[in-house]
Symmetry: C2
Subunit: 347 residues, 2 copies
């Protein structure tokens, strides 16, 4: 397994991606290719006391860096020698098994779609983070890549999410729910009302395990393994979770910092508190899978530290090893919608 | 101040609404009218050791009860002698200052709209709970009453929410944000893209204090006083908050219940834990205001206990005392959209 890492992407680049790659190499024995400015990568290694490239660690030089101010849709084309473009070309040509970047989501999405391409038959790639739930986590798809979605996109998201939950998370027969404001099939905006029968049909035919509409509250409680949403709603869901967790964590901190007694109490539950924090920490999962692309791509959080990148590399390995893309490719017919039902017959 | 209480609405009726009313009467000196089956109300009073109706507590008999199985849109009409219909008619005729019900949201919404009517010029009534945020709470409007919204509804929600935040919550110049998946004006579905310039214009003209799009995470963190959303998105936001809080509370409980030491720690922070729980407890706020109706109506949570009803009665008094409906009526021209911009010129 060889993972290509965008050494220049993210708030803490190149330090975090380089050292995250090194840690993954040390801990999991994963081979990595660090893509970016060679001299900067070498400096990070030296600063961390690494004089020689460890076995299984390569550097692929790329002189340019995609910046926040670059146009996400065209950055990869305008900066052909960026770590993003060079890294994705390595992925495309098979010189690595997966690509990890903590850089701009928009730029990664555009570049992956246009350089590496989607799986033949998949209409749109989607962002699919694993969100913490009472059921040990669920795949949320989409959460922002596709704000305006015709029904067919959501049908495909249901399949892509199911494959990920089954192959990468190891959930047999993953339960798929359509994020909605009520359980009845009539609930939601026009989009949900139109998507429901498509998912129902796919469920009835045994192509997915559709359990119906799922309200946000039940989704967080763990009612399903896959939460299907358009990018707008999925984003509201994800960001509300993050915000609520942060808000409550801050209030909890206040509570424990109140006086000597409460500070002592914090010490007494310090192990539990650490696990509690981990629960909502995106760095633990590592990153968000870009599903629908013909090769595994993981978007790590922009604020990732080396630990989060290490986890993203592990996740990328799991993704690549799972064979899920091959499985989707073989079964693509299952997630096609006939033209008569608004689908695009020709892929 | 006299508050009309639906004594038969909610999971814990008639016990909770009756005793909630009694408690509000005792603690705040609020006059209340308990609407429902006289004999059942009297029994609750007797069971609680109250032999005589306290001063300021009246009973208005209504023989019927709106049940879960009733059609929400027509229940008030089919059951003319229900506590819902009788109570709202009392409100309409001015025999009370506000109405509180923990019964079916849909039935209350339909009945309030059709019996009590909307404020002249208001296109749709909306559900506007105060959600806990890092900024001490924000008005979320709408959260489920109107799933399909033309842009004008959201423009009006912004006004209704602003009036509530200013008059009832006491926030001068309440900051209004449009719930979205990004800050830029181009973000969101067609709806948000169309609503943004309407809110921007109202803001530029000083009619509201529009601060732009607000992402869900920043909304929870307290960036705004009013969160404007269509009913579908608002519902996702609200229910995700609730779910996340419940999920984390459960994990926290597990942490504290682990062993003797952690149980001791829980005792040491018990005061703080109580406040922490209160933070996310809808019963603390009391209920959700139905904004846009020509008289104050509060929907209490279906699972309300007497304490939650008492708080809802206090909230209803604040609402009635605020003069916000009168203010809206006077300034209704400010929230009209010209027909040329998709508005309904005639109200």
């Amino acid at each position: 397994m060889k993972i290509i890492i965008d050494a220049m992407g993210g708030d803490n680049a190149p330090q975090a991606p380089v050292m995250g790659g090194i840690q993954a190499n040390r801990e999991y024995g994963t081979s990595v290719i660090l893509v970016g400015r060679g001299e900067e990568i070498l400096k990070v290694l030296q600063d961390n006391g690494i004089q020689q490239l460890p076995a299984g660690v390569e550097i692929a030089h790329a002189s340019e860096v995609v910046e926040v101010c670059d146009n996400p849709s065209t950055a990869f084309r305008e900066k052909k020698d960026s770590s993003l473009t060079v890294g994705l070309n390595l992925l495309k040509s098979g010189q690595g098994d997966a690509f990890v970047s903590a850089g701009s989501t928009g730029a990664l999405l555009a570049a992956a779609t246009l350089l590496v391409k989607r799986i033949k038959g998949v209409r749109r790639a989607a962002l699919a983070p694993v969100v913490p739930t009472g059921g040990g986590g669920a795949v949320l798809i989409d959460c922002g890549a596709n704000v305006k979605c015709p029904p067919e996109y959501l049908l495909q998201f249901a399949f892509l999410g199911s494959y990920y939950a089954e192959h990468v998370l190891g959930r047999p027969e993953p339960r798929v729910g359509l994020l909605n404001n009520g359980a009845e099939p009539s609930k939601g905006t026009d989009l949900q009302v139109e998507v429901y029968p498509l998912l129902k049909k796919a469920g009835d035919e045994g192509r997915i395990h559709f359990t119906g509409n799922v309200e946000a509250r039940e989704a967080v409680e763990g009612a399903v393994d896959v939460i299907v949403a358009d990018g707008y709603s999925g984003n509201i869901f994800l960001k509300t979770m993050e915000g609520t967790a942060l808000f409550l964590a801050r209030e909890l901190k206040k509570m424990f910092k109140k006086n000597l007694l409460t500070k002592l109490a914090a010490l007494m539950v310090s192990g539990g508190l650490k696990n509690f924090k981990k629960l909502m920490d995106s760095g633990e999962v590592g990153g968000t899978a870009l599903l629908g692309i013909s090769r595994p791509v993981i978007k790590a959080h922009g604020s990732s530290d080396a630990y989060a990148i290490k986890n993203a590399v592990r996740q990328a390995s799991d993704f690549a090893r799972s064979g899920m893309i091959e499985s989707i490719t073989e079964n693509i017919g299952q997630m096609r919608l006939p033209a008569s039902a608004g689908g695009k017959e020709e892929f």
